[in-house]
Symmetry: C3
Subunit: 303 residues, 3 copies
């Protein structure tokens, strides 16, 4: 068994870390936002956005106004405290007095966007159904398509990003990333009828701009050219612009803040693009030459 | 705080969406399948398939027949209602009367396949152990290899796909996709001794056919050439055929419904293949030419 | 409903599998390690490593020594039994008597490493903040960056790998793989200030060696050349060595046990490398040639 003396040494060493590390110190007095509560908010909003799909109860046994009013108020209370805690940790002393008022304003503005967000999501469901021959029904898309889930969380997180709430947007988007393998930074700007198929490995950077009716496959990166300068690049447009009606096939990379993919273009699988492409272009990456040999001939690269 | 008037406007706007949107309306009277229940079914089946690995209790303190009988009946009841609800939502008025009988028939046929599915899974465990030098024991593979988990869920979901149950197969396969990054459409046909190593980013499309003793690495896509025609392509063979004894290394893409990878072939990493390959061929993608420069020379593409 | 006779046949067939399959038999008498308990250990250790970020309670209302002492002892008891069970299953008859003593020694050694692991993790947080212009604060990194979570779990799992505990390291690393899409084998050796950005699809093999201040993007594989020989390759160095201050951009593959990427090199996106690279080199994969055509011209490859 761990001896008492060993335990005391371990506790004392780690306590020193606690005392010396700024990241563990400046918390005092103010609670941190709570990741679990923020996930509860996402799940509650999903029940509101897609009534009847993720509820325990059957919706037809209740009045929609009661269901909505009750659920909205429940989410509101959790949201209000999480926004308040998040703001507090980034407030100067003078701002702290006004923080609760700011949290209330933010919550009101957020809830006023909900109906618009729901309308956007219904268009995203249409885009998924029309874009995927394997989709049996729109209901299946709502129930279990990871692309739709990632887009739903993005549309919520993006609103909090616009409202300048710290922590919440990224905690939300990383929750979706965890479950879908799709990493959409909440700062990205994304239009209507957006569809991501399969989705694992997709990365959409913070300053990306995406138009309407865009379709993206697994493994696509909309990224930066270089991040060597680190924090100096903050707020610089580092990621590309994708205009309306563009399709980007699997594992294509489109990099750079000045790169624009023109309206109606199609980017083939594995293409690697660092310069703009005019509207209406089909870009196909020449496949790497293939060598065909009979197995058994000496080569241990792939065997 | 959110004012009463604001709340009323929000509730009223979203309620209008509820009333106008077909996706939220046609539910009435029939419960929806429940995603959580379907996940419980998967987890219960995993305990049956791999006794002693995922149970709370120790198996040696019980009689196998009791353990099995009890667990099967418990799963059966949940499964029966979920299959019933799923069928109901896709039944015409005339069919509804026979739906419970159909659900019962499906459950019986499914349970009658369980022993065969278990035998297949034991072969998949062998394939993983023989194929991966990092595997310490077969038990480790059962405990935590994501490839085996994805294949287990696929073999279950595929059976429900064959039995023409709506919703369940895809909800199951997306649960595995969430946890493993491996996206196997339940419609795919996959033989014995199948092994997926690492697995993140693997996509196996609905009409793919895979033979026996096939090994696949992370990032491999077995996909369609184009999905531009959307729902018009439903039920067309859009994905490739992989014959027996084929190995496909990481991030290779094999596309198209008429593409056949012949028996015993090896496909190298990053290969991009849209045409058939004869049996016994080793296909290596010529690596893209590499440029070597000293760092510090001007180039901001990657730095 | 499933008839009694059908049920009996199914139960009897699967019971035969239970009796005939070694994997389900040799468990008897000794409990298996429990995956849920092992995940509890990880989560408990995360609360200790990052106090105030993942706790229910507010830390300032307690004395750090009490918080730590209490949590350490709680984790210790769970860990001790899991290590004991894991060792038991791999002990010869003669070793079994000494197994509890071995488990105690391992637990003591593990806890004695905790303070060092915490110091490493604080450096990893710095590396992430300095390397990512999208990072708003270091707190955000602790809260939700998947790269940091994967590295945290790796540093814990690697310690148990060093201490030769069966099962636990891989169960831990696959838990992180599940949540992040980042697959770091617990056997890999990784230095200080390690950062993985986005991360989905990253694979770092068992015998990889990584120096200090290395930065890796999504989709990077540090892998083996061929695994055809399966279990015969166990304990052979099959994966590359990455020296200090190297950056590896997205979807690059570096393969082979003798491949060394020299200090300070930069590997561009999509590069495919199977031979060593001298220190201070920038390696850029020539992009595949792109074909630009107007859409509508005949081609169904990507459309």
């Amino acid at each position: 068994m761990l001896s008492e003396q060993d335990l005391q040494t371990i506790v004392s060493d780690i306590t020193d870390n606690y005392k010396n590390e700024e990241l563990f110190q400046r918390n005092s007095g103010y609670p941190m936002p709570n990741r679990d509560q923020i996930i509860h908010i996402i799940m509650g909003l999903r029940q509101i956005m897609f009534p009847g799909y993720f509820d325990e109860e059957q919706l037809e046994h209740t009045v929609p106004e009661y269901f909505l009013g009750h659920n909205l108020m429940r989410i509101h209370d959790t949201l209000r405290s999480q926004v308040y805690f998040a703001l507090l940790r980034h407030s100067s002393k003078e701002e702290k007095a006004r923080t609760l008022q700011r949290a209330d304003d933010i919550c009101t503005q957020f809830f006023q966007s909900l109906c618009d967000i729901q309308n956007l999501l219904l268009k995203d469901v249409d885009a998924a159904f029309n874009g995927d021959p394997a989709a049996k029904t729109k209901e299946e898309i709502i129930f279990c398509y990871p692309g739709l889930f990632a887009i739903f969380v993005y549309r919520i997180a993006h609103r909090f990003y616009q409202l300048k709430v710290p922590f919440l947007p990224r905690i939300m988007s990383e929750y979706a990333h965890d479950h879908t393998g799709i990493d959409i930074n909440p700062g990205a700007t994304i239009g209507e009828y957006f569809f991501i198929d399969h989705g694992t490995g997709v990365v959409i950077g913070e300053t990306t701009i995406i138009g309407n009716n865009v379709k993206i496959y697994q493994g696509v990166t909309l990224g930066a050219l270089s991040t060597r300068s680190g924090q100096l690049l903050r707020d610089v447009k580092r990621h590309p612009t994708i205009e309306d009606d563009v399709t980007i096939y699997s594992s294509a990379s489109i990099l750079g803040g000045e790169t624009v993919i023109g309206k109606g273009s199609v980017i083939g699988g594995n293409a690697f693009i660092t310069e703009s492409v005019p509207a209406g272009t089909r870009v196909i990456a020449k496949n790497p030459d293939l060598t065909f040999t009979e197995r058994g001939e000496g080569n241990d690269l792939f065997d």
